[in-house]
Amino acid sequence: MTANSAKALVLPLAVLAAFEVWARATHLQSDSLAPPSEIVMALFGAFADLSILAATRDTLFSTFAGLAIGTIIGLALGIAFGIFDTLNRLMEVTVEAIRPIPSIALLPIALIALGFGYRMEIVIVAFACVWPVLILSRAAVRSIEPRLMEVARALRLPPAQRVWKIIVPAALPRIFVAFRLSAGIALIVAVTVEIAINPLGLGAGIMLAQQALRPDLMLAYLVWIGAIGYALNVLLVVAQNRLFGRAALSGDGA
C-alpha cells in the first residue's frame, strides 16, 4: 500500500520539479504561468494577509447554506413522492420539465431578482442541490423493506412518526450518498457563480488575480480550490464509511 502511494506521488512531483526547472532555466515571464515555488509563496502570502481565508469563508458559507436549503427541499419532496405514488405520478411532468434547466442559467434571473451577494448564490446552489437529493431519496424510500411499513401500520403510527421513526432511518444511508453528491455539486456551483459574475469568495478571488496579471496568485487560488474540493470529498466519504459502513454502498453507483 505504501509502495503504491509512493508510486502515485511520482508523477505529480516529477511534473512539478520539471516545471520548476524549466521556469528557472528560461526565466519565465508570463501572465498565465508561474513556477511552483512562486505559487507556494503566493499561497503563503494570501494566508498571511487573510484574504484567501476570508474568501474561503464566503464561498463555504454560500455552499453550505445552499446545500442545506436544497437538501431540505429535495428530501421533503423526495420522501413525499416516495410515499405517495399518486403525487409522484402527477408531478412527473412538472419535475422533468424543471430539472434539466442548467443551474447556471438561473444566474441572470437570480441576479435581477436578488442582486449581487450571498442570497443569489445560495438560491442557485440550492436549486442545483435539490435534484440529486430528490431523485435518490425518492428511490430510497421506495426500496424500503415493505415489512417495515407493515410494522408501522400494525403499530398505528401517525404519519409524522411513520416518516421520522421508520422511513428516515431506513433510507438514511442512501440519503447520505445523495447528500455527498450534492455537496460536491454545491461547491462547484458556488465557485462557478463567483467566477461568472458574483464578486464574492474564492471564484471572485481567482478572477481578480487573473485580471491583476498575478499568475502566481491565480494558480495559488486554483491549488487551494482544488484542495478544498478534495478535502470536502474525503471528509464526506470518511463520514459515510464511519456512519453507515457497507449499508451505504447498496445505493452508491460509483
Binding site: A8, A105, P108, Q210, P215, M218, G226
Partner: protein, 255 residues
C-alpha cells in the same frame, strides 16, 4: 404504453398546465413585479418573436456549437487517454491516483487560467468545455477497462493479440456502458460550461443572450432564454439515452 399509464401521463401534464396557469395568475395579479417575473404569455411571445426574427436560432446554434465541439473533443481525447491509462498496469498505478486527486476540482476554476492563456476567445471556451467534459469520460474509460472480465484478457493472451487489438476488440466493447454513461454526464457539464463561457467572454450564444436580457431588464426575453436552455438540456439528454439504448442493444441481448 397501456391505458392507465396514458391516463397518468395526461393527468401529469394537466398538473404542469395548472402550475403554468398559477404562474400566469401571479403575473397577472402583479404579486411579483413584472420586471422580475413575466407571465408565461409574455415569455412565449418572446420565444415566438425571437424565433421568427431568427435571433434566437443563431443564439441557440451558437450554444449548441460550443457544446458539441467541446464535448466531441473531450469524448475523443477522454476515451483515447482513458484507454492508454486503463490498458496498462504501470500507467494505472502511476497516473490514476493523480486523476482521482484532480477529479473533485471544480472545473470552472480553470476558466481564469484559460482566459490568461488564450484571452476571451472561442478557443478559450472550447478549451474550458473540453477540459471540464473530459473528466467523467476519461475516468469512466479507466474504470471500464479495469472492470473487464479477466478471462477475456487471458483469451487475448492465448490468442497472442496485440495491445491495440485487445483495446479495440475486447476492452472498448466491454467498457462501452461505462464510457457512454460518462459521456452522458459530460453532456450536462458541457452545457453548463458553454453558458458560463458565453457569459464571461461575450461569445454568441444563449448564455450571453440571457445575461444581456437581464442587464436590460427584459425579463420576457430572459425567461425565453432560460426555457430554451432547459429544453436544450432535456433534448440532448434524451438523445443521449436513445443513443445509449441503441448502441448497447447487443449487450442487453447477450445477458
Amino acid at each position: 404504453m397501456n391505458r392507465a399509464a396514458l391516463l397518468w401521463r395526461v393527468a401529469s401534464f394537466a398538473v404542469a398546465a395548472g402550475f403554468i396557469a398559477l404562474w400566469q395568475l401571479i403575473a397577472n395579479l402583479k404579486l411579483v413585479s413584472p420586471v422580475f417575473l413575466p407571465g408565461p404569455d409574455r415569455a412565449w411571445a418572446s420565444l415566438v418573436r425571437g424565433f421568427s426574427s431568427g435571433d434566437l436560432w443563431s443564439k441557440l446554434a451558437g450554444t449548441l456549437e460550443h457544446m458539441a465541439y467541446g464535448w466531441l473533443a473531450a469524448s475523443i481525447a477522454g476515451i483515447a487517454i482513458g484507454a492508454i491509462i486503463g490498458s496498462s498496469r504501470t500507467m494505472r498505478t502511476y497516473v490514476a491516483p493523480s486523476l482521482e486527486f484532480l477529479r473533485p476540482l471544480p472545473v470552472s476554476a480553470i476558466i481564469p487560467v484559460a482566459i490568461a492563456m488564450l484571452g476571451l476567445t472561442q478557443a478559450m471556451a472550447l478549451f474550458v468545455i473540453a477540459f471540464g467534459a473530459i473528466w467523467p469520460i476519461m475516468l469512466a474509460t479507466v474504470h471500464g477497462f479495469g472492470a473487464v472480465e479477466p478471462r477475456l484478457y487471458e483469451v487475448a493472451r492465448s490468442l497472442q493479440m496485440s495491445r491495440l487489438a485487445v483495446i479495440f476488440k475486447i476492452a472498448l466493447p466491454s467498457a462501452s456502458p461505462d464510457i457512454l454513461a460518462g459521456m452522458r454526464l459530460s453532456l450536462t457539464v458541457a452545457l453548463i460550461l458553454s453558458v458560463v463561457c458565453e457569459i464571461l467572454a461575450g461569445l454568441d450564444g444563449l448564455g450571453h443572450w440571457v445575461l444581456l436580457s437581464a442587464r436590460a431588464f427584459r425579463s420576457a426575453d430572459l425567461f425565453a432564454g432560460v426555457i430554451l436552455l432547459g429544453i436544450t438540456g432535456y433534448v440532448t439528454s434524451v438523445a443521449m439515452s436513445l443513443a445509449e439504448h441503441k448502441l448497447l442493444a447487443w449487450q442487453a441481448a447477450q445477458r
